[in-house]
Symmetry: C2
Subunit: 717 residues, 2 copies
């Protein structure tokens, strides 16, 4: 790829970004778009839905940038919880890493690279006609002493990254503990989930739980809630909810009905319709209540229960110790937050769960294989000659410079990015059938899956473009990995630089512009009119989509910084954009749905350590290839030291992210001892883990307050 | 190797075994050998040291076989603890496996193998002139349907072994729990070891421990013992003990001194000598006492302490939970039995421990490499032509049939065995500097090391005889492992059959005869005369030497049963011998030194699963090599199922071997509640973990009772 192709791509994307920024600055001020751009403020009542028109509303203003910039970490913590803070720290961490690497890369390595002439001398007269490869390490002559600059850079950046990793892990650990100390008593702190409960002949699960914990934890056991199979009920409730929404809509806009019936597609008399819906809803609710009372009998009990204790320490003790002589009975787990419980999990049988796990593994493998098809096609695009062989009729078009530049510089990564968009939802679905008991655990697992999928399918598939079997064969022959990496990785430098510009820049600005919700609202607006009393659904940030994306750019940056330092400025711009935009989104758009207390950080740490070791492997290969064997030998201690450092961090910090220590729990328990609200809390605790599907439901209009149904049931279904 | 060579080897070894049996039957009845053959009975006072001479003492009698045979498992349990029971069950388990495999192998596979003619038809007229290879799978024609017999045998034996593994794991788990329930209160049940204790400025470790546990475990904390650095003290005590022994010897045999001084090598006047020794001993003890009082001051404190609680459950809770906010402080571990503590561990500093670990890894690698030298030489012996090339002058000798048969059939495995003898002590030493806090943990780790060393250095080094690099390269190319195994493993069948006969048979009979202790006592007897009041040191069985040996024969049997079924009868004879001989040794020779409660079993389980999967890999290779690709495809589910089974067992049984459950502990605690001896026990508990080097020592004769020094100090040093 030539410099000019890259510049084309940069030009297109800068234009797009500006367009998005300006559009956003204007559109966000239109009340009609409040639901898309400030749903959070709207839900909190901080923004009025309709305001009077003024001219200012049509002029783009960067006020939101200032607001986002001024947001402090403490404010963010109180607004969106610790997870949001951790998310912003990922970006901050990456910024610092690449600022450091950028200084080294641009001011030292780039001049060194251009000074070589292994490939060709740089044509300073006509910069844009140079191949991007002259800015990479490939341009340095074999055996040149200049490679020691790269060697030193590898050592310096590794040391800096490890120092930062330690600092961040330490900081987030302390934040996590402080967050726990500052928290009010929460049901999940006092509760554990017990699974595989054995039941005596003729007894019920409830009796079994009561007997066991009264026998072995008499002084601390408080109460329990047995989990029931509620798949049927949840379906019924969903039906009732839909019906109710329709009904409300009909009642709220009596006059609009006739005009709008075009959307429903048929003409009916309104009154009849309302009566009919009301009747239907009543029937449904009757049905529901019967089903509920049936489920409440012992027949549909699952062998699992939420067991509550009178102190956090007692709950933690029960969680940490194997309870029964038989290790596969009375299995204890930490309870998630009540609204974080993934209830459908409990409805499936043991065999089904086991099979789902197998299915998930197979599905992940299949997805990986199928995904290679678009990747290979995309790789063909960067190679124009190949394309001309495949589609000879394109020859004439491809000779136009601009077209060929767009095709090589912009199209490949755009196509890739579109395909990548579908991966996070698929991975989330796969995780949800894999057997996690909470939404947060599902998201964490999906986050990991998406990350490794991206690294495998974008990084390795692009680098070793070829069949799956070829890729696998490389990893089955471990001693040749460095040399193969050394040949293939630098060759793809230009593709990844373009990838950062297209995928990175566009994804952040489209995140700001919220393309899909915006289009959605545009399409829906003429058909469905919201009831102003309707509860607005505030979205939560999909960590499993955004964290892997940022981390993947981290992997690219760390592996390429010494090969092709030109990638760094583009990365830095991406990170700066992300820094401002995500802060803005936390302020205006996303509300937290659950709180893991920073449990996403270990994923970041592991991925960074992986990138470092990958970078070292590439360095070993490169220095061998460039016939500087002393340097490649001297790199060897680096991965070992990095892994030792990782081992230390695992010991020093990871346990903090898994469970709280005895010291923490006992101190927190003592603090509560004098709290007068505790008896009330314990009373609420008894029913905190009630399956929402079993709570009384009242949608039908034969009640006084129509607008206050027990909506709580809707959140967790 | 020809059948006749194998028969020669069998002949020699049968002769040796008989010789050992007869010698043992006679020698064990001679009072002079009681210390070698019945030290345990002697120490327990069940056998008088000297009895009158009678003729019966000179006639070999098999009475001991009957006695050993009649020993029940309960008797063994009460005599030698659960570890001995587990040890005997390893042999019983192997016996059952190979009896089943033996029936299939001898009655089905062996006739099938001989019926083939891939190599050569069997010469039934002159059986001894056949090569052993005609009895192996190599003799079956490629693509023959007969291979389906082998295929079925692989499935049948895998199923049977897994069933037995499950049964044994279950049985031993229940035994372990029953053993715990039946145990009296033991200090280790109420105690944990706490390490990495942080110390406040100016404070002592003891204060720190007291404050922490009084703060966080006020209701259950009982007492603690801070560990001190006692290397110097232990050296002094050893010196004092040596001196004391000499002194006692001089005083006990006043008249013999002049005759025996030959051994001391110089002439002196006895009285002078005694006086001199007494003076020296007194000085030494004075020195010791000063050192003790110095160590007792805070200066030599290690940041570790044994902390005792008032119930087993409280101790287990403290052990299972992370105590401090900082996960690398207040690290808790289960305490070993007081006499099992490996005190020298605490004397070394953190850096030293860390370095030792690295040294151990390097040492293990070096040992593996160096050990290949004898293995390669031994392999040369089985190949006579090679030997003639190396040592041409041997040509004339090697043409003698008997000599060549001895060299190919007997010598190779004898040499290997001699080299193998030195491995267990080396591995034990390496484990002891690796950082374990108890003798039992050291032995368990050494057991694992010896096992994998044996499998790697005997099995793989023999199979892939070649350089280390060649072996490593095979494992770096995983997809070719089965085919390489399929070529190499059957080729070594005759060597391993001979190995079972020489190494197996000889090792058990020399275990019975106790060759080294016997020779030792022969040599020492004329020089040193034991004081009858001297405490007799009863040996304990070196599990790290004997368990890997039996397990390695298990690996051989499982991998070779379908390749060369001829190995099975020899294995069965070996196991029968071992069954009787080890029971006899537990009765007469070995006394348990510590009790792990059956923690050696998981090693057995893992090694068996490994052999099964290795066997499957070989089967895949063999069926591919023999062009029966359907069979090799159908074998694939087998390793997967085996590993799934292993995973289930890890969940179902392994936790039982790591820690006791809350249920078990609470029940046991409740049982003690009405026990009147508990206050007394708790009193003793306070000093149970006192470093023996710090106990008052009194050897010098200026006390009334000279023969009652606090010998306890000697056991753990």
């Amino acid at each position: 790829m030539l410099v000019s192709a890259l510049l084309t791509s940069v030009g297109i994307n800068t234009g797009l970004c500006f367009l998005f920024f300006i559009l956003y600055s204007v559109l966000r001020k239109q009340p009609i778009n409040y639901e898309v751009y400030v749903p959070r403020l709207l839900a909190e009542g901080k923004s009025r839905r309709r305001s009077h028109f003024n001219l200012e509303r049509l002029i783009p203003s960067p006020g939101w940038v200032k607001k986002a910039w001024q947001l402090t970490e403490d404010e963010l913590l109180s607004l969106s919880g610790l997870d949001a803070v951790v998310f912003m720290r990922i970006i901050g961490f990456s910024l610092r890493v690449f600022a450091f690497a950028g200084v080294i890369g641009i001011f030292i390595l780039l001049p060194v690279n251009t000074s070589g002439d292994q490939l060709t001398s740089v044509d300073f007269a006509d910069l844009t006609n140079n191949s991007l490869d002259v800015f990479t390490i490939s341009n340095i002559n074999s055996g040149s002493y200049k490679l020691w600059f790269h060697f030193s850079a590898v050592y310096a950046v590794t040391a800096f990254v490890c120092y930062l990793l330690y600092y961040e892990y330490n900081y987030i650990s302390s934040k996590r503990i402080a967050f726990f100390y500052a928290s009010k008593p929460q049901p999940e702190q006092f509760t554990i989930l017990v699974r595989s409960i054995p039941v005596a002949q003729g007894g019920s699960v409830s009796e079994s739980v009561d007997n066991f914990f009264r026998e072995y934890h008499p002084s601390s056991y408080l109460s329990h809630v047995v989990v029931r199979r509620t798949r049927k009920l949840r379906n019924l409730i969903n039906d009732a909810k839909k019906l109710y929404k329709r009904l409300i809509h009909l009642q709220s806009y009596p006059n609009e009905n006739d005009q709008r019936s075009c959307c429903f597609g048929l003409f009916r008399r309104r009154v009849d319709l309302v009566d009919q819906y009301e009747k239907k809803l009543e029937d449904l609710e009757e049905n529901l209540r019967m089903e509920q009372s049936e489920v409440s009998l012992a027949t549909d009990e699952v062998r699992a229960a939420f067991v509550s204790f009178n102190s956090r320490y007692a709950a933690a003790t029960a969680f940490h110790m194997q309870q029964s002589i038989n290790p596969i009975q009375w299995i204890t787990e930490e309870a998630p937050e009540p609204h974080d419980v993934y209830w459908p999990f409990f409805s499936s049988s043991f065999m089904k769960k086991w099979l789902s796990k197998l299915v998930v593994i197979v599905a992940c493998i299949l997805l990986t294989i199928l995904f290679l098809i678009p990747v290979v096609v995309v790789q063909g695009l960067t190679n124009l000659n190949q394309l001309e062989v495949w589609f000879p009729f394109l020859k004439s078009i491809l000779t136009i410079t601009f077209v060929s530049q767009v095709i090589t510089g912009y199209l490949p990564s755009l196509i890739l990015q579109l395909f990548l968009k579908i991966v996070p939802p698929i991975m989330e679905f796969l995780s949800s059938i894999q057997g996690y008991i909470s939404h947060s655990a599902i998201e964490k697992s999906a986050c990991n899956k998406v990350l490794w999928f991206t690294i495998w399918n974008i990084f390795f598939a692009t680098v070793f473009s070829g069949s799956v079997l070829y890729q696998v064969s490389i990893f089955l022959d471990p001693k040749n990995i460095p040399s193969k990496l050394a040949v293939s990785v630098p060759a793809q430098a230009s593709f990844f630089i373009a990838y950062v510009v297209t995928s990175g820049w566009t994804s952040t600005s489209s995140e700001l512009f919220r393309v899909i919700p915006f289009i959605g609202s545009l399409v829906m607006r003429p058909c469905v009119k919201r009831n102003p009393d309707d509860e607005l659904e505030v979205p939560s940030i999909p960590y499993h989509r955004d964290i892997p994306r940022i981390l993947f750019f981290g992997v690219l940056g760390i592996t390429y910084f010494f090969l092709a330092p030109l990638i760094l400025p583009f990365l830095l711009i991406y990170l700066c954009l992300a820094y401002i935009i995500y802060r803005n989104q936390f302020l205006n758009v996303y509300a937290p749905k659950y709180e893991t207390g920073g449990k996403f950080w270990p994923i970041v740490h592991n991925s960074t350590i992986f990138s470092l070791v990958l970078m070292h492997a590439i360095a070993v290969g490169i220095f061998t290839l460039k016939k500087l064997s002393l340097a490649s030998t001297l790199i060897f201690p680096l991965p070992i030291l990095t892994l030792l450092f990782n081992e230390y961090c695992r010991k020093r910090f990871l346990p903090i992210f898994i469970a709280y220590s005895a010291e923490t729990l006992i101190l927190k328990d003592r603090e509560d001892r004098n709290d007068h609200s505790m008896p009330e809390f314990f009373e609420r605790l008894e029913t905190a883990y009630q399956d929402p599907a079993l709570l009384p439901i009242q949608y039908s209009p034969h009640t006084d307050d129509l607008n206050a149904p027990l909506i709580s049931s809707s959140t967790a279904v």
